[in-house]
């Protein structure tokens, strides 16, 4: 068979893998619940936004790493997916800065 799946499959009928799936689910659920808690208990500010962004990245890590299985792929594949994201970081910084400049020009 050409498509032999070289997964880290042991002979336990996938019990271990299902355990990881449900663990990931609980992590995602708890993080989302925490986000709600923070949304209504903390004052709005840089700290709150930073916490939200960090939590989003943790959630993204678990979805991409476990659900999409990227954590268990070859290193080259991981990097060819992760590195292009740097372009997004650049665009984000550039355009947020630009937005501030537009604000200054229009409203100040």
């Amino acid at each position: 068979m050409a498509n032999v799946h070289a997964h880290d499959e042991s002979n336990d009928g996938g019990v271990a893998q299902r355990k990881v799936i449900w663990k990931t689910f609980w992590i995602l659920l708890i993080l989302t619940a925490l986000e709600f808690l923070i949304a209504f208990t903390m004052d709005h500010g840089i700290l709150k936004i930073t916490i939200f962004i960090l939590m989003t990245f943790v959630k993204a890590f678990y979805i991409v790493g476990e659900f999409m299985h990227l954590k268990h792929e070859v290193k080259t594949l991981i990097w060819s997916i992760v590195l292009p994201i740097l372009f997004i970081v650049w665009l984000l910084i550039a355009l947020i800065y630009e937005g501030g400049a537009i604000f200054d020009a229009l409203w100040q």
Partner: protein, 256 residues
């Protein structure tokens, strides 16, 4: 020494002569990953454009209690999204979108369980979990349709806006939002809501179509005959990506 027998099955595989999967992932899976990267750029473009426009508008400076809708500053999202079906007039900020998030995360779990069942060629469980995933997707889309309908129709009171028409200021009450006017804040806020959640909803819809196709082919024994369930995995990648995008939309549109 150059004469080698190549017709037998004993030829040692060489890296550039085929028969070896680059990056130990099949062609289809690799291409799905690279498609998802391109889709990531599209969604990032939309969300970052939202950030740009948001930063170019004044933010509301008072406390959340005294917030009122106005097109002079960017609204606080939790004041915009506080309606829940069958709870008319009750202020439940972000509750409905929280339910939607939960539904999508859960359908992601059932999807990955279907993939796991596929590895074991456990057809019954692939069918079961695909059906749950399809149900989750349909529920999510239904919720989104309701949210859009509410957003478009607006609140009971509407909002009074002042506009400069033919050389004088006039006041007018508007209800809900469309692409040119918006009771909740600047029109750009509604535009981004429609475009970002709409583009995500389109992805969910096509994901549901693909999931139904996978379910059909599983149920008719297509993958059983083929000998592997890799298609479940590829469509699974797409479905998880849709969930991933929602995690970002949820943070940057509804929370921040």
């Amino acid at each position: 020494m150059a004469a080698t027998a190549s017709s037998t099955g004993t030829v040692e595989p060489k890296y550039w002569l085929g028969g070896i999967e680059p990056l130990k992932a099949s062609y289809g899976k690799l291409m799905m990953w690279f498609f998802l990267i391109s889709d990531t750029f599209t969604f990032s473009g939309l969300l970052i454009a939202y950030g740009l426009v948001r930063f170019s508008f004044p933010a509301f400076t008072g406390t959340p209690d005294e917030f009122v809708f106005s097109n002079l500053y960017w609204p606080i999202p939790e004041k915009v999204y506080e309606a829940v079906p069958f709870m008319h007039g009750v202020s439940l900020p972000l509750v409905f979108v929280g339910i939607m998030t939960f539904i999508l995360i859960f359908s992601s779990v059932t999807m990955v369980l279907a993939v796991e069942a596929g590895h074991r060629r456990d057809r019954v469980n692939v069918e079961k979990y695909m059906l749950w995933t399809i149900l989750g997707g349909l529920t999510f889309i239904g919720c989104q349709a309701w949210e859009w309908a509410h957003f478009i129709h607006g609140t009971d009171e509407g909002s009074v806006i002042r506009e400069f028409v033919n050389g004088q200021w006039v006041e007018r009450t508007i209800f809900g939002a469309n692409l040119v006017e918006n009771q909740y804040g600047p029109p750009a806020f509604a535009d981004f809501f429609f475009f970002i959640t709409g583009f995500h909803g389109t992805h969910v819809t096509s994901g549901i179509v693909l999931n139904i196709l996978i379910y059909y082919r599983t149920a008719t024994g297509f993958y059983e005959r083929r000998g592997h369930y890799e298609m479940v995995e590829k469509v699974g990648l797409y479905w998880h990506f849709v969930d991933l995008v929602w995690v970002f939309v949820f943070t940057f549109f509804y929370l921040v």
